[in-house]
Subunit: 286 residues, 2 copies
């Protein structure tokens, strides 16, 4: 394992952490769950898409016979707001090793009508049932030790526009992907960071859904500012992460026609590639 953050003095257990409290869903009826979306995971008033995916992922983990999201695809329909929401799930198919489900998150508009915010399709399995073999030679991203990386607390708001969510994350950006914060974007579609939860909760498959969508947009390093709303985000969880900080590497190959993709790789402290994701996002040019 490379040099990494030392563990906080007080480490939250999984059940007691902010992330678990704010993604907890309450069954209302079979397959239907209430959730109070927390204002603690917002960026410039928008609820973070990874946090929302974790909420839906938790509801499906309860509704389906398998515990872990192997592959989960979310289409973001309308902007979620902090406050009450309901998640409705449907079991599409159950099999021996995989089950497939669908989930939608709804909130009420000002007239009391239900508006769908996100729809998700996912196949779940049990990561503990998988053989431990790795047959490829992919390498973790080259990222300096966490002590040489920078977070919001290290300067005058280097992570522009971060809001409440910044207090909940341990996010330390690789200085070589921080040019945008100094007015000198690299022109490369890359963003890399150490990632953890601020209260020290260890990673699990649900927090990986957050990790893939928690870094500043690669568009910043491509010289663009402004909002990059997610249209669709698919995450593959490939391995249960080991305790300790994660390394997240995000790459954009194709910024064209007002859209870009962001590919994320998440590596754990045992140097395993634990999650891969891709999202399609809109770019507000100009």
């Amino acid at each position: 394992m490379p040099e990494a953050a030392s563990a906080p003095a007080v480490r939250a257990t999984i059940g007691a952490s902010e992330f678990d409290r704010d993604t907890a869903v309450t069954p209302r009826a079979p397959g239907v769950y209430d959730i109070d979306l927390s204002a603690g995971w917002t960026i410039i008033n928008a609820v973070n898409g990874g946090y929302l995916l974790a909420v839906l992922g938790r509801a499906l983990a309860d509704a389906l016979p398998h515990p872990d999201p192997f592959t989960i695809s979310a289409h973001y329909l309308t902007a979620s707001q902090p406050g009450p929401a309901v998640v409705r799930t449907e079991t599409v198919r159950t099999g021996r090793t995989l089950s497939t489900g669908q989930a939608s998150l709804f909130q009420q508009d000002e007239h009391g009508r239900e508006v769908e915010r996100i729809r998700v399709l996912a196949s779940y399995g049990d990561l503990d049932s998988l053989p431990d073999d790795v047959r490829t030679a992919a390498e973790p991203p080259a990222i300096p030790p966490v002590e040489q990386c920078f977070g919001p607390e290290d300067g005058p708001a280097p992570v522009e526009g971060s809001s409440a969510i910044a207090d909940r994350l341990m996010l330390k950006l690789d200085p070589s992907t921080l040019g945008w914060a100094l007015g000198q974007p690299s022109g490369k579609g890359e963003m890399r960071a150490w990632f953890g939860l601020a209260d020290g909760r260890d990673p699990d498959p649900l927090s990986l859904l957050l990790a893939v969508d928690a870094l500043p947009p690669t568009a910043f390093e491509l010289g663009l500012s402004g909002w990059v709303p997610t249209v669709e985000l698919t995450v593959h969880v490939r391995c249960r992460p080991a305790p300790g900080p994660l390394r997240v590497s995000i790459t954009t190959r194709n910024l064209a026609g007002g859209f870009l993709e962001e590919d994320a790789e998440v590596w754990d402290s045992a140097d395993r590639l634990v999650a891969q994701s891709r999202q399609l996002a809109r770019v507000r040019l100009g």
Copy 2:
């Protein structure tokens, strides 16, 4: 444009081609379509997943107010068979630039009960409405001229297990990713090919859904044989392809725990990155 295949003497128009005939859906009721799945797109008796995605994509293009799949995610539930099927679509949300829909393909089992084969969630837009700018410097894959690449017709079944679909495709594999066919897999998770439809039909967004899932599995070059069934496949169509052959490059970073991802990039004759896809597939080891 690099050296490429010369056009066939008789070039099918889009409407008259085998691909269009075999993906044609017939409206039965609003949002419900009948289709006869052709046996012409099978590989070892299995209906190709990209062909099936194109069928669902065509139904959604009819049902939604926008014509082109910007991002489409499919979860493969049970094995489709050639023969009658029905596609049921649902319009999830319509917006000015994007609309989101869902579609499922069903077939009847031997007792006459409907069985769901595939479920899809997709956001559609209009590729012609996008600005033409490209802001990234991604390069097309290095692949030799088509005359130096190899297809099923060039040797004693070098593309192992290909069946009826081979007659419908112009598929010419880069010899540097053909080691598996000679008993000497490279050990790298790479597969590259020139791709087109055998009857000369030019590519369009729907045929891109086929192109991303038409090459031999990268697992062959990783030294594995046997079936690699798709669990989930997401395709982003980023640009309307120019006429002429496509170049398809597929990469696997992570073969672990009995699963692998396949990332595809599709480049058109104008050197535009027209589609990106990722699939999660199971590997039958041993």
